[in-house]
C-alpha cells in the first residue's frame, strides 16, 4: 500500500463552447484525496460537480490541467484508470431491457472477471444490496430505489478501490436514501473503499461525508470537514429574550464584548452569530445575571452547510441552484434533466 493520493487533480479546467459563447464549467480544480477518504462535492446544480467527475473518470478530456486517478494519468492512461474505478452516474446504469442479474454478470465480464467469480460476486451483491426478489426482473420494472441499488452493485462488481457516485440519492424518498447510505457506509467499513461523491443535499454532505468540498460556479470555494466549515464560516445563531426593551439595550454591550461579534437588537430580543455557541450561551446568561439583567428566553441554533454556502457566496444553495444554469451543448446536468424525463416516459412504454 502506498501513501500516494488516490486522486491528484492539478488545475483541471473544462470549457464548453456552443454557437456563440464559451462557458467555463470547471476552473482550475486542484486537490488531493487520500486512500479511504469519503469526500463530497457539495454545490448547486450547474456548479460543475458532474463535469469534474466526468473528467476524473475519463469520460471527457479536460480543456486544461491534468489529474492522476488510482495512480494513472487520466489523459495518457485512461484505460488503466477505467479498469480500477467504479462509477455510478446520475442516471440509471442498468439497461432497461436487461435483467438485473444479467447486467451484473455482463459487467463482470467487461472487467475481465472469470464467469464463476462473476457469478459469486453478483450473488453476493444481490444479497447485500437487497436485490434478491428482483434478480430476474428487467431493470425497467424496478422502482427508483431498487434501480439505484442496482447502479451501486454494478459500480462495485469488480471491487474497485475508488468509487465515484454522481448524485447517488437524487430522486429517492428519505427512507431509500438512508438505506442507500447505510450500504455505502457498510461498504467502506468492510473494504476501505475510497468514496467520492457529488450531492446538492446539504444534510447528506453534513451527515455522511468526512470532508466537504464546496463548489460554486466551477470553483472549489471551501474544503474541510463539515464541522470545521460550519465553525469557521458560519457559527451558531444565539437569540436572547429580555423582559423589557431597556434591559435588551443594556445587554447589547455585554454580549458584544463577550462574543466579539456584532449584536443585532430587535425590541427586547438580541441576536448574535458566533462560533462555539454552546459554550458562549451559558456564559452570556451568567454575565448578564451578574449585571442584573434577567434573560427570559435563550436559544442557540447550530449552523447548517447552507449557512456556510451563504457566508461564502452570499446566496443560499437553493437560490444558487435556481439561478443561472450553465448553458452549453454538453452540459451534463441539462442533459441529465431531459434524460430523466425520458426515463419516466420510457418506463411507461
Amino acid at each position: 500500500m502506498t501513501n500516494e493520493p488516490i486522486i491528484e487533480a492539478q488545475g483541471l479546467t473544462k470549457r464548453f463552447s456552443s454557437k456563440k459563447k464559451t462557458v467555463e464549467a470547471v476552473t482550475d480544480l486542484t486537490f488531493e484525496v487520500a486512500r479511504g477518504e469519503l469526500v463530497a462535492f457539495l454545490g448547486p446544480n450547474g456548479a460543475g460537480k458532474s463535469t469534474s467527475l466526468r473528467m476524473l473518470t475519463s469520460l471527457i478530456p479536460p480543456t486544461a490541467g491534468t489529474a492522476r486517478v488510482v495512480g494513472f494519468d487520466i489523459l495518457r492512461r485512461p484505460a488503466d484508470v477505467r479498469a480500477r474505478i467504479g462509477y455510478v452516474g446520475q442516471l440509471t446504469s442498468g439497461s432497461f431491457a436487461q435483467r438485473v442479474r444479467d447486467e451484473l454478470l455482463s459487467q463482470g465480464t467487461f472487467y475481465g472477471m472469470p464467469a464463476s467469480r462473476a457469478r459469486t460476486r453478483a450473488d453476493e451483491l444481490i444479497e447485500s444490496l437487497d436485490l434478491a426478489p428482483f434478480a430476474t426482473r428487467s431493470v425497467q420494472q424496478l422502482s427508483g430505489g431498487q434501480k439505484r441499488r442496482l447502479d451501486i452493485a454494478l459500480g462495485l462488481m469488480h471491487a474497485p478501490p475508488l468509487l465515484f457516485l454522481d448524485e447517488p440519492s437524487t430522486g429517492l424518498d428519505p427512507q431509500s436514501r438512508a438505506n442507500l447510505w447505510q450500504h455505502i457506509l457498510d461498504l467502506r467499513a468492510q473494504h476501505g473503499t475510497t468514496v467520492f461523491l457529488t450531492t446538492h443535499y446539504l444534510e447528506e454532505a453534513d451527515r455522511y461525508a468526512e470532508r466537504v468540498m464546496v463548489m460554486d460556479r466551477g470553483r472549489v470555494i471551501a474544503d474541510d470537514t463539515a464541522t470545521r466549515l460550519k465553525a469557521n464560516l458560519a457559527g451558531d445563531v444565539i437569540t436572547l429574550g429580555f423582559a423589557t426593551t431597556a434591559d435588551a439595550a443594556r445587554a447589547v454591550e455585554i454580549v458584544q464584548r463577550l462574543a466579539d461579534r456584532d449584536v443585532a437588537r430587535s425590541d427586547a430580543t438580541l441576536t448574535v452569530t458566533a462560533p462555539d455557541g454552546d459554550a458562549l450561551l451559558p456564559e452570556a446568561v451568567r454575565r448578564l445575571d451578574a449585571a442584573g439583567l434577567r434573560v427570559d428566553r435563550a436559544t442557540g441554533v447550530p449552523p447548517t452547510l447552507d449557512d456556510v454556502f451563504l457566508a461564502l457566496t452570499g446566496r443560499t444553495l437553493r437560490e444558487a441552484g435556481e439561478g443561472e444554469p450553465v448553458e452549453e451543448d454538453e452540459d451534463p446536468d441539462a442533459t441529465a434533466s431531459t434524460a430523466k424525463q425520458a426515463t419516466t416516459t420510457g418506463a411507461q412504454r
Partner: protein, 263 residues
Amino acid sequence: MTAPQHTTDTAVRANPARDTWNVLTRELKPVVRDPFTLIFSLVQPLVFLGLFGPLLVGQSGMPVGETLQWFVPGILVMIVLFGTGATGSNLQYEMMTGSHERTLVAPLSRSSLLVGRALKEIAPIVVQAVLIVLIAWPFGFSFHVGGLLIGLALLAVFGVGLGSLSYALALATRDREWLFWGVQQTLIFPLLILSGMLLPLDEGPGWMRVVATVNPVSWVVQAERALLAGDLADSAVLWGWVAALALAAVGLAVGIRSMRKSS
C-alpha cells in the same frame, strides 16, 4: 483507514476481440430471455406479405407461387431495412437512460461497443428471415437451400452495415429522438421504393432506374432473388455481395468513429 484493501491489481486491459464478444453476448441476453420480441417486429414484413402480396398477384396476373418467388426475397431485405435500420433507437434509449455512459467508463475498447452491437443484429435477421420463408412456403414459395444459406449470410453482412449506420445516427443525434426518427424515416422509404422491393422499377421513369443503380439495397434485393431461385452463379449475386460488403465497411468505419467520439 485500517480496513484491508480488498483489491488486487489484476485490472484488465482493453482487448477488442474479447470486448466485442462480451458486448455481443450482453446484447443477445434480452433476445434470448424474451424471444417474442423478434416475432413482434415481424409484424410489418408480414403485413406487406399478407396485404401487399395479393395485390401484386392480381396486378401481375402471374400465379401465386411465381409472384412469391419474386416478392419474398424483397421481404427478407425489408426485415433488415425496418428492423436493423431502427436498432439505433435502442442505443439512443440507453444513452438517455444512462447505461451507455456506464459502458463508456468500463475498460472496454470503444470499437467493441459498436461492433458487438452490430454483430448482434445477425441473430434477429436470421431468425426472422427463416420464419418468413417458412410462412411463405405453404403458399407456393420454393427456394434453393444452398441459396437460402448464402442469402442469409448476405443479409447478415448487409445488416451489420445498416445497423452500424443506425447506431452512428443515434450517437450523432444524442438525446434528440425526433431527429433520429426524422432522418431514419426520410432515408428508409426512398431506399425501400428505389430498390424495386415492392414493385419492379422496369415500368418506372428512367431517372428512378438510374437512382436505383446507386442504391445498395437494390443490389442486395436482386442478389437475394437470384440466390433463393438457385441461380448461384448469376452476376447479380456478385454485385449484391459487393454492395453489402461496401456498406458494412462504410457502416463500421463511420460507426466506430462515432463511438470513439461518444462521451
